[in-house]
Every structure is written in structure tokens, then in C-alpha cells.
């Protein structure tokens, strides 16, 4: 069972030490359609839980992506510039958006685990 956690707004976060990798869920990418562009934050930016971290665009839709946890941006997925389709192909893997230096581990407790999220999206449809 993976340590991946999800927000109600369909972001995911995976923690490794004090690095938190974030992205959007598979459900989210399906709703959006073919992703054509991702606007990523600057390295060094400080994000509070709930702040706008990124914007993801498909042809017909655009959505803000909120930080599931607080932290400082240490890396962004530069691959997405040339290949935004990664988000569709592998939303929770190669399609990651941002890596943060985690500041408050406890924030993860607010989030859903994989099973809870699967139940949540089932009820949405």
C-alpha cells in the first residue's frame, strides 16, 4: 500500500524523507482531457497548504492546482514543457509537477489515503 495521499481537489502528494512530490490524480487528468500546458512555480517559492502551486491546461479547460502541504519549491518537472502529455499518461508518476521541502509533516493527516480517495471519487460520479 503506497504512502500516496490525496486532497478533495484531486491533488496527490508522496513524501520521501522531507521531500514531498505533488501532482494531480488520474481522475483529474481524465476530467481535463489532453494536457497541453503546465504553468509551474519558481524554485524557492514558499507555499502554504492550499496556495496555488501550478496551473494545468488542456485545450478546453484550465485548473489551478493547490499545494496539498506546505513547503519550499526545490524542483519542478521540466519535462512537462516539451511533453505535457506525461500528465495524462502517468499522472501519479512521470507526470509529477513540483517537489517541495516539507515543512509540516502533520498536514498529511488531513489528507485521504488511496482507498479513501477511490471511494471519494466513486461518489462524485
Amino acid at each position: 500500500m503506497s504512502d500516496i495521499r490525496f486532497t478533495k481537489d484531486h491533488e496527490w502528494v508522496l513524501v520521501d524523507g522531507d521531500t514531498a512530490t505533488i501532482g494531480i490524480s488520474d481522475y483529474a487528468q481524465e476530467q481535463l482531457g489532453d494536457v497541453v500546458f503546465v504553468e509551474l512555480p519558481d524554485i524557492g517559492k514558499t507555499l502554504e497548504q492550499g496556495d496555488e502551486a501550478a496551473v494545468v491546461e488542456s485545450v478546453k479547460a484550465a485548473s489551478e492546482v493547490y499545494a496539498p502541504v506546505s513547503g519550499e519549491v526545490i524542483e519542478v518537472n521540466e519535462e512537462l514543457e516539451a511533453a505535457p502529455g506525461r500528465v495524462n499518461e502517468d499522472a501519479t508518476g512521470e507526470g509529477w509537477f513540483v517537489k517541495l521541502k516539507l515543512t509540516d509533516e502533520d498536514e498529511l493527516d488531513d489528507l485521504m489515503d488511496e482507498a479513501a480517495y477511490a471511494k471519494y471519487i466513486k461518489e462524485l460520479d
Binding site: 481535463l32 482531457g33 489532453d34 497541453v36 494545468v56 488542456s58 478546453k60 479547460a61 493547490y66
Partner: protein, 526 residues
């Protein structure tokens, strides 16, 4: 993720269905020609215009003469003619068929309007000629202004906005100006906008620095008045409402809404996109509005021209009239005058929306339309528009699904419930209409309904035309329910182009032709 507008839809080229048309040598198909880009038709040195080289003279360009070639292609007149005629043949148009786009009002564009706009006295006059040499032009603008005021029951009108969205900006700027004059600009920053509103509404409000607060709709497609009243407060600047609304329904509580927002100290902006339902039968001024833009290219038949130009004059209440932007066209002492500077006006105009006076070419066309119809014709047109939309709603609601019980106004709204389980989406349904010779209706708008299909026939359709349209949609709906998905998933099959790869266009934007550049990568190569 937020839900600005988070529901995407397929933007690739659709399902593979093995449909293969007869291949021709030229690639042409009968009357539809494959036409290269104009740059690919270059005959270096050719021109479609005969101009004499000026005699030798000493230029006075201050050393900024252009060096090198620009790269424009050269063609003779017949080649240019053929290029554009061939391009035109790939376009659907009102003149070729029913254009059921909801909220766009694709009515007939009378050619008298074109003839009048081209009279030299209108088409060949400069906005900055001395005013005594353009009295007839100013008279025309003033006459149109009079018609707009009478039809809407409002005392003032700003003629200069260049399009509907520009008119919205104008109206909201006037509201902001009025708030400033009351010293309340800093405290009133919230604008209430229904969920079902057209995207220009929140975009306009945000551009002026307002925050947008969404009002939910009731189950029967109207503004939730209770929820709206709960959102009122001393920080509310205005409400922006469309009436009839984007679901095609008249907001029956509109007077109550107007009174409530006025009591709270706010203003009422009305989006006039759907005026075609009520022109001549209802005056928005009687409903309590403070400002309303009118799309001359919708209600008053000025042509859509493939996307523009439009015109969006804004009628104002007494409260907002003093703030109308420059220029003001006035009629004093037997002469017409354009007031171009604040000092000359009797109010506090908030500024200028555009250079010069506005979309004169569209004013002439709109006035020709109004003079032709008259008060009786305008009323009849609105009634026919509403009648036709209801006829469509009544004739199709058994086989398609209408989220709201009729009657509707000038447009009929359907959703995609009737397609549930068929494997056919709204998008596919629309594309199949193309093969049947119809431009699709407005799709996926308004957002408050799932897979929306908004149909506005207008008053310009004969009953035969409506009957064929209804029969066609009936056939498509029944076909979808019978599981004939191929008809839809690969559609259109018969248009000049099949479904286009919008994903590729957005991922790898190619926004101009460039000499020596290769063709875009196909889906496979990407």
C-alpha cells in the same frame, strides 16, 4: 484543483473508423478544392495591383528606410480571387443554412444593410473631419441612439463600445465610476454573477478589480433569489445578470432582484445578449436595470463576419448616465455635435473606451434593420424567435432531454441525459450534425447543465426549415439510442476536414507560415 472551467473534452481527431473516401488525383472533392496557403502561391514580382513607381525624389525618412525583403507573396488578381473564393467554399454560413447557435442570434443579415453602409456619405467620411461636414453621420448615430433608448426604456446610451464584451467593460466601468463619485469605490468590491453566466461577465468584472461571487441556480434553471439575497451586503458593487438567462429562461423574479440590489446600494448590470427574445415586448428599463449592452451583431442583424466586427452600445439609467464614456453625440440648436473632451460635457464621463466614435459601419446596418422592421416588425421578430425555439423544444423533448420544463424564450436548452449509455457524447452528436448539413448548436454552455446543447433558431427560419431540422435531430437521437456509434464517433466524415487535432495545435503551436519550415508532426510522430 479549482473548477474555473475544469471539465475538458476530447480534442483529438476522434475514433478510427476505417472510413476511406474515394481518392482523387488533385485531392479535391467536387466543388471543394484543396487550397494552399497564399505564401505557397507566390510568383515573385507579381502583383494584383497596378501602381506607377513614383518619379525620383529625395526621401525624408531620417535614416529608417526598411532594408531587405518583407517576404510577402505576389499574385495576380485572378489568382487572388480564386484563392479566396475557394476558401469561402469551405465555410458554413447563415446564408447557406440554419445556424442554431444558442445566444449568438444567427438571424438573416439583410443586404440592404450592406448597401446603406457603403453609401459614400457614411463609408467614406473620416471621424476627425470638421463636424459641420459630417452632420448626417452624427444624425445617424443620434437616431440609432434614440431607437436603442426607446426599445430599452432607458434614458441614455454610450455608443462607442466596439463589441459586446467591450460594452460589458463600459457598463461596469460606469458602475465603478458611480461608486467612486459616492466615495464607495474602496468598500464595494464584490460583484455577484450567476453560475450560468457567459465567461465575459466574470472576466470583465475581474479586469476592473472586482471579486466575483457566484450565485447558484435553482433546480428549474433560474437565479436562486434566496441565495442571491443572502449574498447581498454593503460590499456589493453590482449584480451582472443575463435576461433571458443563458438557459433560455426569463428571470421571473428580476424586478425583485433589481429592488434588492438597489436597496443594498448596488447596481444592476444586464447582459443584453439575449435581447432578441424580448425586443418590442419588454423594456429592460422597466425591469430596474442600470446598464445593459446590446449586441448589434445579434439582435440587430449586423453580420458576424467570421468572428467580427461587432458593436456593443450600452444603455444607462439616470443614475449612471452622467458617467457615460466619451464621445457624447448631442443635438443642440439644430446641429449635431460630438463632445470629445470632459470639459465640454455636462457630466463626469469616466474616460474613453476607444479612439474615434465607435462602429459607424455597424450603426448604419443596425439602423437600416430597425427602419425596415419598425416597432411592429421588431415585436413580431421577437415573437417568432420565441415561437420557433418553443416549437423545437416541444417537438424534441420526448426523444432528447430538456432539463427545464418549458416554455423557454428564444433558445431551447437540452442536456446529454438522453445519450446516457449510448457511448455518444454531446461532442459526437454535434459533429454528426455537420454531416447532415447543419452547423452544430452551442455545446457545453451553459456550464450548469451536463453536456449542454443550446439551440437558438431565430425568427429567420421558415417552418419547413424548422421541421427538417427537428426531423434530423430526431433521427440522430434515435440513431444514438440504437447504438449506431460509428455515425457519431468518427464524424464529421463529409466536411472539408475531418476532426482536427486541437491537442497538437495547443502542445506545439504553429501560429504562422515560415519559409522553409516543415509540415507539423502527425499524431504518430509526436
Amino acid at each position: 484543483m479549482s473548477s474555473m472551467n475544469a471539465k475538458g473534452r476530447p480534442t483529438g481527431t476522434g475514433a478510427e473508423t476505417g472510413f476511406a473516401p474515394h481518392e482523387t488525383f488533385t485531392g479535391n472533392r467536387g466543388l471543394v478544392q484543396e487550397e494552399p496557403l497564399i505564401f505557397e502561391l507566390d510568383s515573385p514580382g507579381a502583383s494584383g495591383v497596378d501602381l506607377d513607381e513614383p518619379e525620383d525624389f529625395a526621401p525624408r525618412l531620417g535614416g529608417v528606410a526598411r532594408q531587405g525583403r518583407i517576404g510577402l507573396p505576389g499574385l495576380s488578381e485572378p489568382e487572388v480571387m480564386r484563392h479566396y473564393v475557394r476558401l469561402s467554399q469551405k465555410n458554413y454560413a447563415i446564408d447557406s443554412g440554419l445556424y442554431p447557435l444558442g445566444s449568438c442570434t444567427m438571424k438573416h443579415n439583410p443586404r440592404l444593410n450592406e448597401k446603406m453602409a457603403r453609401l459614400p456619405g457614411f463609408g467614406d467620411v473620416h471621424p476627425l473631419q470638421p463636424q459641420q461636414t459630417v452632420q448626417g453621420a452624427l444624425e445617424l448615430i443620434d437616431t440609432l441612439a434614440h431607437w436603442l433608448k426607446e426599445l430599452t426604456g432607458m434614458p441614455a446610451v454610450a455608443m462607442s463600445p466596439k463589441a459586446g464584451a467591450h460594452g460589458e467593460l463600459c457598463g461596469m466601468m460606469a458602475i465603478d465610476a458611480a461608486l467612486r463619485a459616492r466615495g464607495e469605490e474602496g468598500t464595494r468590491k464584490r460583484v455577484l454573477v450567476p453560475e450560468s453566466a457567459h465567461g465575459t461577465n466574470p472576466a470583465t468584472a475581474a479586469q476592473i478589480g472586482f471579486t466575483v461571487d457566484s450565485i447558484p441556480a435553482t433546480e428549474d434553471g433560474h437565479v436562486d433569489v434566496k441565495a442571491f439575497k443572502a449574498k447581498l451586503g454593503p460590499d456589493v458593487a453590482a449584480i451582472m445578470l443575463t435576461n433571458p438567462n443563458t438557459c433560455g429562461l426569463f428571470e421571473r423574479d428580476i424586478i425583485e432582484i433589481a429592488d434588492a440590489v438597489h436597496e443594498a446600494g448596488g447596481y444592476f448590470y444586464c447582459d443584453g445578449a439575449n435581447f432578441n427574445a424580448i425586443a418590442g415586448r419588454v423594456r429592460p428599463g422597466d425591469l430596474g436595470i442600470d446598464a445593459m449592452h446590446i449586441n448589434l451583431h445579434k439582435t440587430f442583424s449586423t453580420p458576424h463576419g467570421g468572428g467580427g466586427p461587432g458593436a456593443g452600445p450600452v444603455v444607462f439609467s439616470q443614475a449612471l448616465a452622467p458617467f457615460a464614456p466619451l464621445p457624447w453625440i448631442v443635438h443642440e440648436k439644430g446641429a449635431y455635435r460630438a463632445i470629445e473632451h470632459e470639459g465640454e460635457s455636462t457630466g463626469q464621463p469616466f474616460g474613453r473606451m476607444t479612439a474615434f466614435h465607435g462602429q459607424m459601419g455597424m450603426f448604419v446596418r443596425a439602423l437600416a434593420y430597425m427602419l425596415s422592421h419598425g416597432a411592429d416588425g421588431i415585436r413580431q421578430a421577437s415573437e417568432d424567435a420565441v415561437l420557433s425555439a418553443n416549437y423545437i423544444l416541444a417537438s424534441l423533448k420526448d426523444v432528447m432531454s430538456a432539463p427545464y420544463e418549458g416554455p423557454c424564450m428564444h433558445e431551447a436548452l437540452f442536456d446529454d441525459s438522453f445519450l446516457k449509455g449510448t457511448g455518444v457524447e454531446t461532442l459526437d452528436f454535434a459533429k454528426a450534425m455537420i454531416d447532415e448539413g447543419y452547423h452544430p448548436m452551442t455545446m457545453y454552455f451553459p456550464l450548469v447543465v451536463h453536456g449542454a446543447m443550446l439551440i437558438e433558431p431565430t425568427e429567420s427560419e421558415s417552418k419547413d426549415s424548422l421541421d427538417l431540422f427537428i426531423a434530423t435531430l430526431r433521427d440522430l437521437a434515435e440513431s444514438a439510442k440504437r447504438g449506431e456509434t460509428e455515425r457519431f464517433s468518427g464524424a464529421p466524415y463529409l466536411a472539408p476536414r475531418r476532426r482536427l487535432d486541437e491537442t497538437l495545435a495547443a502542445r506545439k503551436p504553429i501560429l504562422r507560415w515560415q519559409h522553409g519550415r516543415n509540415e507539423p508532426a502527425s499524431k504518430a510522430a509526436e
